[in-house]
């Protein structure tokens, strides 16, 4: 179970095969995978490897991908409009 990072993806991105493909491509530590039904799958075991690079935030509309720190000030990272 992830101790440090959580990721949320809005349904608009999670169910768009093209955007899912982009998410899989940009993440350097393989947090995203394409699910069997074409949707996105969060790879739980890789969540704590997140480097906070924010590349995933630029996939889709602002706020559609959110990276949460589970420690400290628990700041949420998301693309602003």
């Amino acid at each position: 179970m992830a101790l440090f990072i959580a990721v949320e993806v809005s349904p608009a991105v999670a169910n768009d095969a093209e955007l899912v493909k982009k998410l899989v491509e940009v993440c350097p530590v393989n947090i995203f995978a394409a699910g069997t039904g074409g949707g996105v799958q969060i790879v739980e075991k890789n969540l704590d490897e997140c480097t906070l690079c924010e590349l995933c935030l630029d996939v889709g509309a602002p706020g559609s991908v959110r990276v949460k720190r589970l420690y400290g000030d628990k700041e949420v990272l998301e693309r602003r409009a």
């Binding site: 101790l3 440090f4 704590d48 490897e49 480097t51 906070l52 720190r69 420690y71 400290g72 000030d73």
Partner: protein
């Protein structure tokens, strides 16, 4: 990487250093007998192990005929010395010795150059000669770019008041040794003793070669020629199960280094790194009276998983009460990623990070983020205003408190 004596001698012999007659390795008593028969005279048989103390342990025997050589080889091959089983038995002619010398080349860390050392008192530790008879030692640094000439060798040897044909013969061997040192990326090339026989010839009675590990790739050809497997690891002792597991952790993920483990018998696990910083930290722990359970390197930005697995390994060692995570200031390793890995490892081992981590002292990249994580889990941490020595002291003090 240390060479066996027979390998060192093959290397020396290839470059004209005179060896005793025979000088072949036997793997069975029958082979030893055959080599002794070829030599047709008194022989010495020496266990081929990568450890010292052979003579005292009975790993060096003498015999006068092939049958006695076979019996001696049988004894030596069955003998384990300091945990090392022999690779074979080196069989050489035994000739009357008139005088013993020492010649060696190694690195001078202060001058940052190779240094050639000669002495007319061979056969004993050169360190002992340096302490008790410094006037019998001559030293000279030399360039890695310019060849160590016969003339330079002559100057050096002449400073020991050696002259005549002895000077010429010794100079040739000495200059040759310097060239071998440079050519093959060695960290030590030593002949001790270099014997002058009663008939005036010089022969290398014992040799010691260490090759820089990083030179192994560029020296594949000579290693192959000497019969050294490129994958062969040469260590002072066989790795423990714990150390083998450390290597497996490192091999399990290509990112960074986490798992270069050497095991000791203390109670403080060390996750340390940053080049010379890890050695400094290890020494600082000892200086403060701490007892390291291991020397365990980390660096080059290992993944969270890799650091986590390493931490779990360290905590699995019986007797480890706490771990200290310490590095010099780092730019190539993210502090927050290491903090995550260590904390995860501690938690997955069933412990509280605040209790198991004695100190976390890694200043550098992403340290603010790392410190947030450590604070969240109640781990004592410090930044670069606390020296490595002081951090080590804090870790040791915490071990005393419990």
């Amino acid at each position: 990487m240390r060479f066996y004596e027979y390998e060192s001698k093959r290397l020396f012999g290839k470059h004209g250093v005179p060896l005793p007659t025979g000088s072949k390795v036997a793997h069975t008593p029958q082979e030893a007998s055959a080599i002794a028969a070829e030599i047709a005279g008194p022989v010495v048989l020496k266990s081929q192990v990568l450890t010292g103390g052979r003579m005292k342990a009975g790993g060096v025997l003498f015999s006068d005929n092939p049958a006695a050589a076979a019996a001696a080889a049988k004894k030596i091959l069955a003998l384990t010395i300091n945990g090392h089983t022999p690779r074979g038995v080196l069989v050489e002619a035994r000739a009357p010795i008139a005088q013993e010398y020492y010649v060696g080349v190694t690195w001078d860390g202060v001058a940052r150059l190779p240094v050639m050392i000669c002495s007319d008192m061979g056969g004993i530790d050169i360190e002992e000669v340096a302490e008790t008879h410094p006037q019998h030692i001559a030293k000279r640094n030399f360039s890695t770019l310019l060849p160590f000439s016969d003339f330079m060798a002559k100057e050096l040897i002449a400073s020991l008041n050696i002259s005549g044909s002895d000077l010429n013969r010794l100079a040739q061997i000495t200059a040759g040794l310097a060239r071998i040192f440079i050519t093959y990326g060695l960290t030590l090339a030593e002949i001790n003793p270099l014997a002058k026989l009663a008939d005036g010839r010089f022969v290398c009675l014992d040799g010691h070669v260490d090759m820089e590990d990083d030179a192994r790739d560029s020296q594949k050809a000579i290693l192959k020629e000497l019969g050294i497997d490129p994958e062969e690891k040469r260590q002072a002792r066989p790795p423990t199960d714990f150390e083998i597991k450390g290597v497996a952790v490192d091999a399990g993920d290509h990112r960074g280094v986490a798992g270069n483990v050497v095991e000791f018998d203390g109670d403080l696990g060390l996750v340390i790194g940053a080049g010379g910083g890890s050695l400094t930290l290890f020494d600082a722990i000892r200086k403060h009276g701490g007892r390291p359970a291991n020397y365990c390197e980390i660096g080059g930005n290992p993944s969270v998983t890799k650091t986590c697995e390493l931490t779990k390994l360290i905590l699995s060692k019986p007797g480890v009460k706490k771990i200290a995570v310490m590095m010099n200031v780092v730019s190539n390793t993210r502090v927050d990623i290491v903090a995550r890995g260590v904390i995860k490892g501690v938690i997955e081992s069933g412990h509280k990070p605040s209790e198991k981590i004695a100190i976390f002292r890694i200043p550098g990249s992403w340290e603010t983020e790392g410190f947030k994580i450590l604070k969240h889990y109640g781990v004592e941490y410090c930044d670069r205003t606390v020296s490595m020595y002081e951090a080590a002291g804090r870790a040791v003090a915490k071990m005393r408190v419990g």
